[in-house]
Symmetry: C2
Subunit: 336 residues, 2 copies
């Protein structure tokens, strides 16, 4: 009899054999990476492991309610036997915390739901689920971890943020079943949605007004930009522009949407969204980033206007190609 071990089985076995784990969230962290790391950390501690959590960047204010969030720090590995990187599709996503020697001394595990994953780890489990948090839930259940309110709150936050509250196209009945399971275990959906979606600051009002006034729709691509000058005038932080690209992408004229943010360090942060049928992960990947078909991003060195022009052109090509493809097929059929 042949027993096939899944990647999840292998990871569960490695955890059962492990003692000390360092868990990484990705740079510019969101609710899924932070929630997944914290949920897994609480689970590992229940199993008797020492679990520490790391992130190169600060955790956004709207996630500060999560249990254990204060323990995040830009840590490097010390004597861990397990290094786990969650919700990150390549090693650059942990920022400058990579350390070749110390990483080589541990088992490197990557759990992720991004199709652009580069398989950089010793043990990689990728499943294109709506959130990485759902994979962590599966893993914890396999490990017979008892779901408590802390774990459930962390994981439900991951699901809620990555699906924009069950609103993205990849939300399945399985996603809702995971949410119910976590609510039954003590997570409050109301508390989470209030924390993550209703704690925007007035910065957002001051920044989005001008940003929407200068939005441009061109050949199916709706874009706007946030310059350092706009941030100064609105007396706002960059964080206030989070969510702007999702908003742009809700316009039906926008086949693709983009927000370009001047980071002030010579780079431009680019967030991309698209309607089903148009894949923006390729554009993001071509510019050194990654993500999903309908939600991707990259950080590009260059001037705001120049980066924006190059990427808008690439997006317009992508939109045109997706519109032309069925057109071409139809014209071939008609000629038959």
């Amino acid at each position: 009899m042949q027993i096939t071990m899944t990647k999840r089985d292998e990871i569960a076995r490695a955890i059962r054999a492990g003692h000390r784990a360092l868990l990484f969230a990705h740079v510019m962290p969101d609710g899924d990476t932070i929630g997944s790391v914290l949920g897994l950390a609480w689970g590992l501690r229940q199993l008797g492991l020492v679990a520490r959590v790391a992130c190169a960047d600060p955790v956004p204010a709207e996630l500060h309610f999560l249990p254990g969030v204060d323990e995040f720090a830009p840590r490097r590995p010390s004597d861990e036997d397990l290094i786990m990187i969650l919700d990150a599709s390549d090693l650059s996503r942990i920022g400058d915390l990579y350390d070749q020697e110390r990483f080589a001394a541990a088992l490197l595990i990557n759990i992720d739901h991004h199709v652009t994953n580069t398989h950089f780890a010793d043990l990689t489990w990728i499943e294109p689920r709506a959130s990485t948090a759902e994979l962590i839930l599966d893993l914890l259940l396999q490990l017979d971890v008892r779901l408590d309110a802390d774990i459930a709150t962390c994981l439900l936050t991951g699901i809620v943020t990555d699906t924009r509250c069950f609103c993205t196209a990849n939300t399945e009945p399985a996603t809702l079943r995971a949410a119910i399971r976590l609510m039954d275990a003590g997570a409050s959906l109301a508390q989470i949605t209030d924390a993550v979606f209703s704690h925007r600051s007035m910065d957002v009002i001051r920044l989005w007004g001008p940003a929407l006034c200068r939005a441009v729709l061109s050949d199916g691509v709706l874009w706007t930009e946030i310059s350092q000058e706009m941030l100064r005038q609105a007396n706002a932080t960059l964080e206030a522009s989070n969510g702007l690209v999702n908003f742009l992408s809700t316009m039906h004229e926008a086949r693709a949407a983009a927000v370009f943010r001047e980071m002030g360090d010579g780079t431009v942060d680019v967030s991309l969204r698209s309607k089903p049928g148009i894949d923006v992960s390729g554009v993001a990947f071509a510019f050194g980033g990654g993500g999903h078909a309908q939600a991707a991003g990259c950080q590009v060195v260059g001037e705001l206007a120049e980066v924006r022009e190059r990427i808008v052109r690439a997006l317009q090509q992508e939109v045109r190609a997706s519109l032309e493809a069925p057109e071409r097929i139809r014209s071939v059929i008609e000629r038959l």
Copy 2:
């Protein structure tokens, strides 16, 4: 043995005995009233009844994908034995379609989830669930209606729109279970969220920019207004301002949020939202409207500036009272 009939039982019995039904959605219809009416209409037809659907106002464009939506018209009753009004808390919510004589000739049934319901019908079933569509689902299951994709799509649209995609504080595991049941019956959550949340028009971008630029936060109340002049300048319809009040209410500084819309007929449409702990339904009710604690509204005769001033003042009092209440309790305790 005493058998207690619930309101739902009584309504199910009336439907089984009925032949011709007219189903009303409320004025300025939303996804819950339209989805509930259509879902129930399809169910009644399966049971052999003739079911027609009525609404005083046109159905918003983002709901035009619903099966059967073309049948909505500003109808009055003719020879129906059942008149059912869904998702409406008082009779004025069906607009000018009320007709005393014909309404008196039929059994008037009201199914609703608003706490401000005035119990105007012969048979009223109110339950403070997240959406009226959930009540319709319960009723159809009790009537042994087979859930098909059409019914499921209509009802899931009701749930999704009223909970803003499971994001409102009243979303319970039961709400998610109803959603799973409807997805399993053939409703596509992705299609629904795409239709209702991603089919805003560029009007929205042109209108929200200026509306956010003139937003005011004062004593915990964040408000903005949409004048006829702003609509002209943005070349936008009133529909483009839908959702603006929800957006304002996501700012954590906003204990209450309001959008005042100059309707162009001498009235002002007022949409109110609030954070948990602050009840805006009382303010809406005092001005002739109604709704829920955290989401309510009213239409007020008067000039934009004057109506706005009166209601902002009432909201500020409500915010102040809610902040002072725990303060007062604390000071009493300290004096003990």
